[in-house]
């Protein structure tokens, strides 16, 4: 498929804009001083790609105030607008001013009749807000290869008389399908400027800048007339005949007979048998890349922090006379350990965000949703929820971030609440050790049982949440507009991944470092008078005292000792630290291999035997289930905080603790009768 050149797009775009900009300047009503432009459009029309192309890395992503709907904001700077004048040599004052516009990327929608909170936000910002708070102009992205499906939104916006510019994307895809779009005729028919752009290759952006500048300086076009006293059906008929006329004028309906390249690929990718096989292969690849490939990089960064950086800091503090003091403890075991933990997540998250961007940009994600829809629908989730849940079995943190592929905010919340129940690899290390200590030759079966329980919890909790909080939320039937396949571009993939990684680091860094420092602080404060701050054994610290106070809560589950309780508290910070924390608590050497736990295993067995009243296997099973079901780690919380907000994050923590405790107690109480 030959991409359309920048020159060709600009030429086409200029032909379709209403007037050269210097003419517009003379009849201008005055552009707003600090203009706000909204990017709107149906899903998969290149809206977010255009947003990234316009704003580069100067982007903030976050939930719209008071909602869980994610909206990106950025600044669009362009100085190449003089090329838009009729002869290309204009140097009028209007053209020479650099363009600087705030841009907001609103959630994708097919119409202004919302079906989800995301679509409702788009409507609210465009129509329901007071005039002064609305965007000064809307740029509506329309896919040239499927114009009819995109013009419904344009029709509704035109009925409101809102200032707007249509950015026609996927012109190369349309051309490949034998569809030639006459932008000039289309612009004339729909009554607003039409600009051809290729945001993936950054073509046509200068023409778009010129057109937006011109449109901002003009009065809003008159609203499209609709039949007086028309009911909803009449109104729809009117819109569709308007759309038909527009498509006919633009020759958008001309179509080359026969299947397209995407159709040929889809014969395999969405097919009844091969579709799921290909999907599982893709998921396997994602899982492998987010675990196997990221692991050496994580180890490298972890080793760098715990090795040279820690040694350097310790030596440096020694030189200035702070060696062995509480300051060294705070800096080395608090700040450096916290930053180190954050850094180990960077390769994992970067890889995850790159993979997500590739899957989205290539068009495969829409197909994955089709393939998994029936399976996920049975537990009340849309097909796309499969991806974060699969990724969760590698690591919950990127899995939470992966929930943003779900278009509906409520679906995102539900899936983000379920992800922590996917048993990540950090938990696996503890399961392997516990399995070896308590189940001997049946260790593998015990570990496998944890995964089965994890899947069962996801199904039961998912159905439970749907039946309670989302009782009135219908499961919409699957209707997905399949975009054409694209080869992902490096620039776009890198840009999207960087923006998301930056957002994660901004939110997670504070939470993780504060949590790690908090644990250090509790372990540094002596519980009894006479101890010295920062030089007290863990068993004599406030941390251990707190664990002793909480331990009776776990007595009905068979692991009500302070050692087990304090380990769970460390596991709240990071499951990776559970085994090392145990080793520290029992003052034994940490085993190099979890399957050969040595003296640590003996200590853990003794502790569980005592706390369970002689039923260590039942207690161990209860402990493993608790470990699987309670809050995975502080980094997951940080990711949840960012994606679904504090209210739902705290709700999730409460739900996880309640469920984990209930299951652990039930398993121990039943288990001690049998084991």
């Amino acid at each position: 498929m030959a991409p359309i050149s920048a020159e060709e797009l600009t030429k086409l775009a200029l032909a379709s804009t209403l007037k050269p900009c210097c003419q517009a300047a003379t009849d201008s009503v005055g552009a707003p001083e600090d203009p706000l432009v909204a990017l709107v459009g149906p899903p998969n029309t290149g809206k977010s790609t255009l947003f990234n192309a316009l704003t580069g890395a100067k982007v903030t992503m976050g939930n719209w105030p008071g909602t869980t709907v994610e909206v990106s904001r950025g600044v669009w700077k362009s100085s190449s607008v003089s090329a838009t004048c009729a002869d290309g040599e204009c140097d009028c004052a209007h053209c020479e001013q650099p363009l600087e516009i705030s841009v907001v990327d609103l959630p994708g929608t097919y119409s202004l009749d919302p079906n989800s909170p995301d679509e409702a936000l788009t409507r609210e910002l465009l129509l329901d807000k007071p005039l002064a708070e609305r965007p000064d102009l809307s740029v509506v992205t329309c896919d040239a290869s499927r114009l009819t499906g995109c013009l419904y939104l344009v029709a509704q916006l035109r009925e409101q008389g809102l200032p707007m510019v249509v950015a026609l994307t996927m012109v190369d895809v349309a051309r490949n399908r034998g569809i030639e779009v006459d932008a000039t005729s289309l612009a004339k028919q729909i009554g607003c400027p039409v600009v051809l752009v290729d945001p993936r290759r950054r073509n046509g952006l200068a023409a778009l800048a010129a057109t937006v500048r011109t449109a901002l300086g003009r009065p809003a076009p008159a609203a499209r007339r609709v039949p007086v006293d028309a009911d909803d059906l009449d109104l729809e008929d009117d819109r569709f005949s308007w759309i038909s006329e527009a498509v006919e004028a633009a020759n958008g309906a001309s179509m080359r007979p026969g299947p397209t390249r995407s159709d040929k690929v889809d014969r395999w990718v969405t097919a009844p048998f091969f579709g799921p096989v290909i999907f599982l292969a893709v998921m396997w690849l994602v899982f492998q890349l987010t675990t196997a490939v990221a692991a050496p990089l994580q180890d490298l960064l972890g080793g760098l922090v715990s090795g040279p950086i820690t040694a350097g800091a310790t030596a440096g503090l020694g030189l200035i006379g702070l060696g062995g003091s509480w300051v060294e403890g705070l800096i080395v075991n608090g700040l450096i350990a916290g930053v180190g933990m954050l850094l180990t997540f960077v390769p994992l998250m970067a890889l995850m965000f790159v993979l997500l961007a590739v899957l989205e940009d290539s068009g495969y994600l829409a197909r994955a949703a089709v393939v998994t829809d029936r399976l996920m629908r049975s537990i009340g989730l849309p097909g796309r929820a499969f991806l974060p849940l699969i990724v969760g079995y590698g690591c919950n943190v990127p899995a939470i971030s992966a929930t943003r592929i779900l278009p509906n905010a409520k679906q995102r919340i539900l899936t983000a609440l379920l992800v922590p129940f996917t048993s990540c690899t950090a938990r696996l290390t503890v399961f392997v050790m516990m399995g070896s200590v308590f189940f001997g030759p049946y260790a593998g079966t015990a570990v496998f049982a944890m995964y089965v329980i994890s899947i069962l919890i996801i199904i039961v909790v998912g159905l439970g949440l749907r039946a309670t909080f989302w009782r009135d939320e219908p499961i919409e039937p699957l209707v997905i507009d399949l975009p054409a396949y694209h080869l992902p571009t490096l620039r776009l993939t890198a840009s999207v991944a960087w923006v998301r990684l930056k957002g994660f680091l901004r939110t997670a860094s504070g939470i993780i470092v504060v949590a790690v420092c908090g644990v250090w602080l509790l372990q540094a404060i002596p519980a009894q008078p006479g101890g010295s701050f920062g030089a007290v054994p863990v068993a004599d610290s406030v941390y251990a005292a707190g664990a002793r106070a909480v331990a009776p809560v776990f007595a009905p589950a068979g692991f009500g000792s302070w050692e087990s309780t304090s380990t769970l508290a460390v596991g709240f910070v990071a499951k990776e630290a559970v085994i090392s924390s145990w080793a520290q608590t029992y003052a034994v050497e940490q085993p190099a291999d979890g399957a050969a736990p040595g003296s640590l295993g003996a200590s853990v067995w003794t502790s569980f035997n005592q706390s369970s009243g002689g039923h260590p296997i039942a207690a161990a099973l209860a402990f493993m289930v608790f470990l699987m079901a309670y809050t995975p780690c502080v980094a997951t919380l940080a990711a949840q905080w960012r994606e679904i907000g504090p209210r739902w994050t705290l709700f999730g923590v409460g739900m996880q603790l309640t469920l984990a405790w209930t299951l652990a107690v039930a398993i121990f109480q039943i288990g001690r009768l049998l084991l």
Partner: protein, 93 residues
């Protein structure tokens, strides 16, 4: 099944209107015209905004995993879930 009221000798009688075939049974690769839908309003609106409304022409071009279909509607490829197929009625154009 699509129904309609007709009046015969002063009485209203509920009759079955030619429903055509539901999309689960419709042939692939054949031009179709949508006769009616029984889907809830949100989904109907979504379908309509994609160009699939009563009277519009389209074709089913592929079966998908999970029992759905891909419809070619005004140049767009629209994946329709299995649950939806039985609620959409069409005739061969």
């Amino acid at each position: 099944m699509l129904t309609d009221w007709i009046f015969y000798k002063g009485k209203a009688i509920l009759t079955f209107v030619n429903p055509g075939i539901d999309l689960a049974s419709a042939p692939l690769g054949t031009p179709l015209t949508l006769l009616g839908t029984e889907v809830e309003s949100g989904a109907a609106q979504r379908l309509a905004s994609l160009g699939l409304r009563v009277g519009s022409s389209f074709a089913l071009i592929a079966k998908t995993a999970g029992g759905g279909r891909v419809a070619l509607v005004a140049g767009s490829r629209v994946a329709l879930g299995r649950s939806l197929l039985a609620q959409l009625w069409a005739e061969v154009a």
